[in-house]
């Protein structure tokens, strides 16, 4: 109970600021409409109008939530969960590419980290490129990946997953390198007194020791994977996915649609990070290392 009150306070403050901000943002349009209709608005009417426009600059929270409900739960209740206008369908497109990209990125990240930790040459040869790869704006490189792969006849989920993997492998590399190097000198000396091979040292010491680092990286990685997928959906002609909903919303000035897609993405990200958190707690507990 002690923690709920502060949390609710913050949420209430954000909602209040949001509603307040919607008034000046949308007031001009309301005034113009009133002027055109030769009427004048009282302050109360003006405020109510700014919170209920069809295409506001900044939609009010209840407008976003009701659009979110209309395009998810309501459609599901009417048996149209997978219709083209359903956010559930678009979230599924985004989710599937995110999960595929996350799996590729995590696998690649772990492999690179293993190489970097075991080979000086890879440490010096690969790490700078991994860092350099993240300094290139993903918005610049995403369309190129889409176009190049499309010309090779690859389209659909794969190009999006590759962009997603491109963003998500990096935190995994950094975290796993740190984690695989985390055993103390003494722990490694102990392995030497047993004449342990490199692979035994890896499986019995380095890998288990890296688990807390891996999970921290996975949380960052899955969020990055989602962002990567959404960015990857933008240049594909805006057909499928949450990114496509955002883009088509901006084509047609449907701000409410953009915001509800943003919310859907945020909820998805929160769910994914939460799921990894649960797996983390379960597995570290089983390993006697409850975090």
């Amino acid at each position: 109970m002690k923690t709920i009150l502060p949390i609710l306070t913050v949420v209430a403050a954000i909602v209040a600021i949001w509603y307040a901000a919607a008034i000046p943002m949308n007031a001009q349009w309301a005034k113009d409409q009133a002027a055109r209709a030769d009427t004048t608005l009282t302050t109360g009417e003006l405020v109510l109008d700014t919170w209920s426009q069809e295409r506001p600059r900044l939609p009010a929270p209840h407008q976003v939530l009701s659009e979110l409900w209309d395009s998810t739960g309501d459609m599901a209740l009417n048996g149209r969960a997978f219709s083209k206008r359903s956010l559930i369908l678009h979230a599924w497109y985004t989710l599937s590419a995110t999960l595929l990209g996350f799996a590729i990125g995590t696998g690649l990240g772990i492999l690179l980290a293993v190489g970097i930790v075991h080979s000086k040459a890879m440490d010096m040869g690969v790490m700078p490129w991994a860092i350099a790869s993240q300094t290139i704006p993903i918005l610049a490189i995403a369309p190129m990946i889409i176009v190049v792969l499309n010309s090779m006849g690859i389209s659909g989920i794969i190009p999006k997953a590759i962009i997603s993997a491109y963003l998500s492998f990096f935190p995994v590399v950094v975290g796993m390198v740190k984690g695989l190097r985390s055993p103390a000198m003494m722990d490694l000396d102990l392995m030497r007194t047993y004449s342990a091979s490199r692979s035994q040292t890896f499986w019995k010491l380095r890998l288990p020791a890296s688990m807390p680092y891996l999970f921290a990286s996975l949380k960052v990685g899955i969020a990055a994977a989602l962002v990567g997928t959404i960015v990857g959906e933008l240049p594909t002609g805006a057909i499928r996915g949450l990114g496509a909903r955002m883009l088509s919303g901006s084509y047609y000035g449907q701000t409410i649609q953009i915001w509800s897609a943003l919310f859907a993405a945020a909820i998805l990200a929160a769910l994914l990070v939460g799921i990894i958190g649960i797996i983390q707690r379960r597995s570290l507990k089983r390993m006697g290392m409850a975090a």
Partner: protein, 264 residues
Amino acid sequence: MGTWDVTTPVIEAKDLDLTFQTNDGPVHALKGVDLGIEKGDFVSFIGPSGCGKTTFLRVIAGLEHATGGTVTVNGMTPDEARRNRAYGYVFQAAGLYPWRTIAGNIRLPLEIMGIPKSEHADRVRRVLELVDLAGFEKKFPWQLSGGMQQRASIARALAFDADILLMDEPFGALDEIVRDHLNEQLLELWASTQKTIAFVTHSIPEAVYLSTKIVVMSPRPGRITDVIESPLPKERPLDIRDTPEFLEVAHRVREGLREGHSYD
């Protein structure tokens, strides 16, 4: 009579040198170290920090390599001896892997050395009884006190039947009361298992209480200044530390340490 000395030492160092090359020039960690350790000996190495006592133990274990002279363990080089599972090593900290239970930690060397799985449970039970930790198999290290963790790490070093136990200040981080208790237990363990033990410490009472042979070392360069054969009997209750014999040995150790320091 000219007969052969049939008891060849288990560990033998001859004119051993070890020089570390550092950015500040060479550091003589060990210089001209000669020492023989017989089977069943309990040998303590004592000296101020930097005297090379830990380094010497690590050379015996093959964790460091001498730059001059020779060292043999069971007549082999340290590396060969290690591959033959000649010794178990106990570090300053227990160094139990936190993701393994106590039994899991003791199984670690067994798994690595390829000892048949069918023997694991028996060996774990046996060594845990030796260190008085029976029943703690399923606990994780953090559930044990510092002294119990160190005992578990001794059990781990005993699990694969090495004849030699190399111990590097194993009780250095523990408080006086726990340390007394563990010293007593270690003597019992030594008596019941007949191991040869090389034990690094910086505590004079600990060295005198435990050892059959005390090696006093001094720094810069690390070398042996005195080797004291203890006149104390094998049976040693804790209150032996108040006897004149004990105090005499302790006095000689202290003198040896002081002499080593008169160089600088």
